[in-house]
């Protein structure tokens, strides 16, 4: 536990220091979502209708943005070799890195979501539910993205490949995330079912992601 906590703290520290990606994700999210009203024009009804989808697409892209360096930076400076020589199973090491990434990248993004809702004419009372759907769904994005990050670790321009690999896998999360957010904003379908499925997707990827990523890293070392 001591070792896992040390790794979690190190990764969070790295993300918040100079050159870390913690606030980049949230800023990117902010910029992407703010561009939409400029592109669509001042049609308030239309903005409210596509609001949840825009927020979710923004969150999806922003949470993948910093993921490509998750293992690549450790690989480049030799840390990855030492991380695999620990008494900890690689699966746990990988999971700890993903949790640190979620805390530093996805959490700030969820915090600023209510502010962005204003720009998209989404009702303030519904913003809570949209944020809740992001809390439930973004862990799935991180843990699915983890697999892509592990697969592309040794590639020079791994980031692009990772996006191509990972984005199709996130389609179910996107569908149910937007469905839950839509249910909260415009109805009439209930919020519960899509939200529950979103939770299930996150839990399943929390279990599968670290195993797949650890296997990919072991292969990549060859």
């Amino acid at each position: 536990m001591n070792a896992l906590l040390a790794l979690l703290l190190r990764d969070m520290r790295l993300a918040t220091r100079v050159g870390g990606g913690a606030l980049m994700g949230a800023l990117f999210y902010f910029v992407v979502v703010s561009m939409i009203p400029f592109a669509i024009g001042p049609d308030l009804n239309l903005l409210a209708r596509i609001g949840p989808a825009v927020l979710w697409i923004g969150a999806l892209l922003a949470s993948l943005l910093a993921l490509d360096r998750l293992f690549a930076s450790d690989h480049d400076d030799g840390s990855l070799d030492l991380l695999t020589m620990s008494t900890l199973p690689l699966e746990l090491t990988v999971a700890a890195k993903a949790i640190a990434h979620w805390l530093t990248t996805a959490l700030p993004l969820i915090v600023i979501t209510p502010v962005l809702g204003l720009m998209l004419n989404v009702d303030m009372s519904a913003m809570g539910f949209v944020a809740l759907s992001l809390v439930a769904g973004t862990p799935a994005l991180t843990f699915i993205g983890l697999i892509g990050a592990a697969l592309s670790v040794t590639l020079r321009r791994g980031g692009l490949l990772m996006a191509i690999l990972v984005l199709p896998l996130t389609v179910p999360v996107l569908i149910f995330g937007v469905a839950a957010a839509n249910a909260a904003i415009v109805g009439p379908a209930p919020f519960g079912p899509p939200f529950t499925i979103l939770c299930a997707l996150s839990l399943a990827s929390f279990v599968l992601g670290p195993f797949a990523a650890a296997a990919a890293l072991r292969q990549g070392q060859e």
Partner: protein, 207 residues
């Protein structure tokens, strides 16, 4: 942690990379308190052999066994690997870097990293971000890791590179101390490493 009966045995090791046989038929045994120096021309497979023993590359044949250590742990978990890269994060301070590796690699929670930093003469720079260190200072910080966490087997790949003569002398002292405490060392090097008459494995000639 180390006992006098610790023994590293490699039998008939072979490694293939990118379809090319890097080495084959490597046999050696290293016992507690003993150092084995790997020599040979560039590309003879010294680094590859160290990475195979560290579990970072898969051997295509043969087996590696560390006996007499802690039974339930593999060779990699009882070894320190010091490769060409120093595994140092530039945005963390010197102390944070070492503290992390000490805790992650399994030093006792209450253990202090101060003695290790003192030993490599970096204590005065403890609060400096590692980005400002020179290549030699980074190497020394990396060596401090070997001292901060006790592991019986040291796998060293060109450990003296970037070090000045004083630091090389210090490293030799660390190695002698490690051997005296029942440790094992496997080191790849081109130059003298500062140990008295270590055993030598010449690679590439037979390969």
């Amino acid at each position: 942690m180390t006992s006098d009966s610790t023994r590293l045995v490699c039998e008939n090791l072979a490694c293939e990379r990118g379809g090319r046989l890097v080495f084959s038929g490597i046999n050696f045994a290293v016992k507690a308190g003993e150092a084995l120096i790997l020599t040979g021309r560039n590309g003879a497979g010294k680094s590859t052999l160290l990475r195979v023993v560290a579990g970072l590359l898969r051997a295509s044949a043969g087996r590696i066994k560390l006996t007499g250590g802690i039974d339930e742990m593999g060779t990699a978990e009882q070894a320190h690997y010091q490769g060409h890269l120093d595994a140092i994060k530039p945005s963390l301070t010197v102390a944070e870097n070492l503290q992390f590796w000490a805790r992650f690699l399994g030093a006792p929670a209450d253990a202090s990293i101060e003695p290790a930093l003192e030993a490599v003469d970096l204590a005065a720079l403890a609060d400096l971000p590692a980005a400002y260190l020179s290549a030699g200072q980074k190497r020394r910080l990396s060596i401090a890791r070997l001292l901060a966490v006790k592991r019986p087997l040291w796998l060293l790949d060109e450990p003296t590179s970037a070090l000045d003569t004083q630091s090389q002398g210090r490293l030799a002292a660390f190695m002698r101390q490690h051997l005296a405490g029942g440790g094992l060392i496997l080191a790849a090097t081109h130059g003298p490493i500062g140990l008295d008459a270590p055993r030598e494995l010449k690679m590439g000639a037979a390969g």
